[in-house]
């Protein structure tokens, strides 16, 4: 609790030493170093030029990384400025660019930033603290570290001190902090947290907490627990929710396996390590890196990266990496299991049984645990074996209770009770297992959990399982459809080639017939990017008129312009109202595409709000495409309001392009304050005319001669008359090629798609099946339709009850010389007609009382019946 109250510390920044130079013209003094101290604490942190620092940014948890180039201030020392070289974290790199990297970046990696769009001069007061950045040789394995604050970079040029082999000095930047206060620690946390995107947000608060506990090693365990509990209470529901996200199965199985092996191999040293770690805070330093200029040197860095990756895989055993993981990791689960968190308990059923135990005073626990465990140990051993067999061999991470325990033990008795503690936790696990066994191991997860704990009966192993590795969150999981086992065939003849080109999905080289619209959108977006301002544009048009395609084309061109360095780089994000389950998911998707973070809708909205309204030292423009805007409508319209309000903020640099079908959407569904923010920049896409459709097909076919001119014209005229939907046009052409292919088999035709084929295709797609359907129904069903018409004429209404129609039906049967049908049969006839929607019926439970209407016009029915 105490920590939270001190969250906002006041830091004092002072120059150290005399200015090394004074620029008279600008009236600035240059210094070599800067002192940062926190009020009320004696420690002082020194920032020197050449050092890497963390700078306060929008995201408290992920401060910016930079290198100090120059320190200066004005004469009277009031203004302190720092000139920096920026680095970007993986999470700050746009996803699209990440792909260029050609490999999975290490979450700790940072990249050299060369962009010009950010101011490289920042206020010294935004400096948080120094950070260690280590340059990595391309070939060096990426330090597996997970320790806070070390960031790594790979440098293609200067390999310096790869951390392998040497156990590394552990003097993490964290310990060098000006103060151990929580606020700062929190900021320190991201490094460690980043290994898992999913756990990220959850992990942050918890590690921070863990951290604080660690620093308070002298407290008694119970005190710790209560503090934790209180903290937990203080936490907002949002955070709790997020904890759910960090579900165990997201963790990497591989990393765990390695660790397990390792641990099994030398448990002894592990113990020692653990001891050492718990008593001596300083840890891993490692790494860091240097970044390869993203765009320029991609190739070389990719190569190097590959090497280093493979090396990681092959030599996971370096001691320090495992060691490094312990301190931070082991605590994470603590928060997960916080007894006071009812919600958590629900979420995580498997762990909940253990909760009460954690909370009990140590001594009690120990005794009872020992008792119980000795009794059930034998049975469990049996069970274990079975479980081993039954589990699928995937080591999902499991925050076992053991971790909890051991960490609190560390706090309690660092050196003294080591042995006891180990014993203790062993017992604990056994007890837990017993419960699972009793409960019948309902879920596969719980099975795995118990299994892991048994397999590595030492005290440390589990802690390590919570390793960074590759998280199994959807984001990283790279969901995909499996690859095909046989390659897809390439088109073999002209018609197939034409069909491929005519598929709506094939991306045309250019978009004909939308030049004007393209120009409008292009200049709008370009001007906003160049000016660094924001704005909204509303694009409307019926389906299939190329709205989304045009915007994508614009973005491709702008992207190209960026690559040519003609305009400054920007993010392009696309969301689609139809591709989300609820309008508020828009926030989540935007946030995820912008930063890769996952959050709940409310939290995401808050983060975006912050991001767009606060000034940030460097910021690129963002272009947001909102497709199917009308689906983002909510009663309060707050989603739309926010989307249109953000661009008006001074610091947002946000351009919003919205797409919907109706031209008057803003007037129809938007309340005034939303419509007003959307502004009047509107663009309407007219349905294609037949000439344009023809041109579109011709340009897609691109010299592949598959259609007769007349056939093309017929299709385009027909479609233009009906809807002007280019998709329809392409689909018809595609179908026509198929028909042509079939007919070509029997007759010696030209091989080109001719009029007859196109007419067939058109009929197939546009003709209604009602008349054929009526011709095909049975005699009684036809009679029933006639009876309906007769009854309608008699009543003068378009609706009658089944009973009335049935009387007519009976009469008609007699006229036709058929045996009259029974009521049940008549109802069955009626239901069959209703099922294919020739009739509209009331629910069938009404029996003879249900009302009947025709779903086809009477003329159609009569026409169909007459032609028999």
């Amino acid at each position: 609790m105490k920590y939270f109250t001190r969250l906002r510390v006041r830091r004092v920044y002072k120059w150290r030493g005399k200015p090394i130079s004074f620029n008279r013209k600008l009236k600035i003094c240059e210094y070599t170093s800067l002192d940062i101290s926190v009020e009320g604490l004696p420690r002082v942190t020194v920032i020197k030029t050449g050092q890497h620092i963390l700078i306060e940014g929008d995201d408290e948890d992920n401060p910016y990384v930079a290198k100090v180039i120059r320190l200066y201030g004005d004469e009277n020392g009031k203004q302190k400025k720092v000139v920096v070289q920026w680095f970007v974290r993986v999470s700050e790199v746009p996803l699209s660019k990440l792909k260029l990297l050609g490999r999975e970046p290490h979450p700790q990696e940072i990249f050299y930033y060369q962009g010009r769009s950010c101011d490289d001069e920042v206020d010294a007061e935004s400096i948080l603290r120094p950070v260690k950045v280590q340059r990595l040789d391309g070939a060096a394995p990426f330090p597996d570290s997970d320790d806070q604050d070390t960031l790594s970079s790979l440098s293609p040029s200067t390999p310096c001190s790869p951390p392998t082999g040497t156990p590394v000095s552990r003097g993490p930047a964290r310990r060098a902090l000006p103060t151990p206060d929580l606020a700062i620690m929190r900021r320190a946390a991201p490094g460690e947290v980043r290994y898992s995107k999913a756990t990220m947000s959850a992990g942050k608060p918890s590690t921070a907490e863990a951290e604080s506990m660690h620093s308070a090693t002298k407290r008694s365990a119970s005190k710790c627990l209560s503090a934790k509990r209180r903290n937990a209470f203080a936490r907002t529901p949002g955070i709790r929710k997020k904890l759910e996200l960090s579900s165990p199965e997201k963790k990497s199985a591989i990393a765990e396996d390695h660790l397990n092996q390792l641990l099994d191999e030398d448990p002894e040293s592990e113990l020692m390590l653990a001891q050492r770690l718990s008593s001596s805070p300083p840890q891993a330093v490692l790494l860091k890196h240097s970044l390869t200029p993203l765009r320029k040197n991609l190739k070389s860095s990719v190569l190097l990266n590959k090497m280093c990756l493979s090396e990681i895989n092959s030599s996971p055993s370096s001691d320090h990496s495992t060691r490094a993981t312990t301190p931070s990791k082991k605590r994470e689960p603590q928060t997960l299991k916080e007894p006071a968190l009812e919600m958590l308990a629900e979420v995580d059923n498997e762990t909940s049984p253990t909760l009460p135990i954690t909370a009990t005073p140590r001594s009690l626990k120990r005794k009872s645990a020992q008792l119980v465990s000795s009794r059930i140990r034998k049975q469990l051993n049996l069970l274990d074996d079975q479980q081993d067999l039954s589990s699928d061999g995937e080591d999902d991470f499991v925050p076992s209770k053991r971790e909890l325990q051991s960490s609190s033990e560390d706090d309690e008795d660092d050196d003294g009770g080591e042995k006891e503690a180990a014993l203790d936790s062993d017992d604990e696990v056994l007890v837990k297992k017993g419960r699972h066994a009793a409960a019948g191991c309902r879920t596969p997860r719980s099975k795995q959990r118990t299994r892991t704990s048994t397999r590595t009966p030492r005290r440390t192993p589990n802690k390590k399982q919570i390793t960074p590795g590759t998280p199994r969150t959807p984001h990283h999981a790279t969901p995909s459809i499996p690859c095909r086992l046989r390659p897809a065939q390439q088109p073999a003849n002209v018609l197939e080639e034409a069909r491929l080109r005519l598929h709506v999905s094939s991306v045309p080289e250019s978009l004909p017939c939308r030049e004007q619209e393209f120009q409008d959108i292009y200049s709008f977006v370009e001007s906003k990017i160049v000016d660094g301002t924001g704005g909204c544009m509303y694009i409307s048009g019926v389906p299939g008129t190329g709205k989304t395609a045009t915007v994508h084309e614009v973005m491709r061109c702008l992207q190209h312009a960026t690559d040519m360095d003609e305009i400054s780089p920007f993010h392009f994000i696309e969301i689609n109202g139809m591709k989300m389950t609820d309008p508020h998911q828009a926030y989540v998707q935007i946030l995820q595409k912008l930063t890769g973070q996952k959050a709940t809708a409310d939290h995401a909205a808050a983060l975006l709000e912050k991001r767009f309204s606060n000034p940030a030292p460097r910021k690129e423009s963002t272009v947001l495409l909102v497709d199917e805007l009308d689906l983002l409508w909510t009663r309060k319209q707050n989603v739309m309001y926010n989307l249109f309000d953000w661009p008006t903020r001074r610091h947002a640099h946000l351009v919003v392009l919205t797409i919907a079908n109706t031209m008057d959407l803003p007037e129809r569904i938007m309340i005034n304050r939303v419509a007003s923010r959307l502004g009047l920049t509107r663009l309407s896409f007219q349905p294609y005319s037949f000439k344009q459709l023809q041109q579109i097909i011709t340009s897609r076919l691109n010299k592949v001669k598959a259609f007769e001119e007349d056939a093309l014209q017929l299709v385009s005229r027909k479609v233009a008359a009906l809807s002007g939907d280019a998709r329809r046009c392409l689909d018809i052409c595609r179908r026509a090629t198929e028909i042509c292919e079939h007919s070509a088999a029997d007759t010696s035709s030209t091989g080109l798609v001719g009029m007859s084929h196109v007419i067939d295709a058109l009929n197939e797609m546009f003709s209604s099946a009602y008349i054929t359907a009526i011709k095909c129904v049975s005699v009684q069903e036809q009679l029933f339709l006639r009876a309906i018409i007769a009854e309608f004429r008699r009543l003068g209404l378009e609706e009658a009850t089944f009973q009335q129609v049935f009387v007519q039906h009976q009469a008609l049967c007699r006229v036709e010389g058929l045996q009259p049908v029974s009521v049940s049969e008549g109802l069955a006839v009626c239901q069959r007609l209703g099922a294919c929607r020739l009739l509209l019926l009331e629910p069938s439970r009404l029996g003879v009382l249900q009302r009947v209407r025709l779903n086809v016009s009477q003329d159609d029915v009569l026409y169909a019946l007459k032609s028999d």
């Binding site: 459809i481 499996p482 011709k775």
Partner: protein
Amino acid sequence: MSKRKVNDAPLPVGTCISEVQDILRKRLCHQQLPDTPEGVQAQHKHLLELLKRTAIHGESNSVLIVGPRGSGKTMLLKCVLRDLLEEKEVERNLLQVHLNGLLQTDDRIALQEMTRQLHLENVVGDKVFGSFAENLSFLLEALKKGDRSSSRPVLFVLDEFDLFAHHKNQTLLYNLFDVSQSAQAPVAVVGVTCRLDVLELLEKRVKSRFSHRQIHLLSNPTFSQYLERVQTQLSLQDDFPDKTFAQDWNASVKTLCEDKSVEDALQRHYNSSKNFRSNHMLLMLCLSRVSVANPAIKPADLLEASKMCLIDAQANMLHGLSILELCLIIAMKHLNDVYEGEPFNLQMVHNEFKKFLQRKSNSMYNFEQPVIMKAFEHLQQLEMIRPVDSSSVKTQREYQLMRLMLDNTQVMEALQKYPQCPTDIKQWAMSAYG
């Protein structure tokens, strides 16, 4: 019979019979696929070509199979899939996802089912993790990652397609069709529905993304084809173990189909419904009458079965009513005639009944009010009468408005057949006024 035994060695008649029943039941109720779909060869070819292109060339497509119930939509699709999977090229490439609008009643369930059937990474065992929103973005991302030439094609079969169109925003359909129209993993979306107006259910942007290919199954068999089909359905194949028995059986089936009365009965079924599902029902009833004592289907069996199929369900129930209940029904019928179908209540029915009693001055049917009430309630339970929806529960039971759920013809027919129906009641029912 003894001759057969000498000849072909073979099987006792009981074994043969049970064998026959086995084979025919598989055909009639287990929806065994025919070797070639009859009457829908063109559609078969169209669909097969379409799916082949998805499976082999990675071309995305969407198609609807439309046809009345019992017209063989699912049979067609299954035949096509069977033929498709015979090709080596396709066999191990195609992923299939089968959804049914009656089971996946909303998009959340449908998405979970899809993820499960695709074995994506967020599935452990049978459980799909993640919220609705996560599942959706997960699946879309999965499909987006793929491309035409490298991903395995996915076949989505949406049974009762029209029900999917009722899901909120038609999110699922939009996304499936959108994938089929963009350069993502190749998919084929096949919808199966019996509604002819299904396209009108689609929202305009969903409709625009649908390729508008529809395969209509509107077969129009003539009566002779129908007859032929009945014969082939009942005939045994050459591979039947006991050849002689098979020949005898087939011969008997042939004579059966040529019988005049059988033809008439079948004509009646044909007039009522041309689809083969109701036909199978009839044949099943015949088949179940085959036994060792009766080793072939006789015309009488078929006529009996046909009678069972066509019987009126409610008339049957009327035969089981008591005299009092029957009287009440007759009173209601008169009320209906007099008031032209306006609803009535117990009191009115009772008065009508009393009028009849007074005229006859016959105390035989003089029942207490509670007895009448009980009979009335019984009729309501049998759903011979149902309360008018608007009449609220508050009104007393005697005054609750009701409607008769029977047609006059049904009442009169039942009276004719009612065992030992008193003549005065018959006369009362027949009289034009109450």
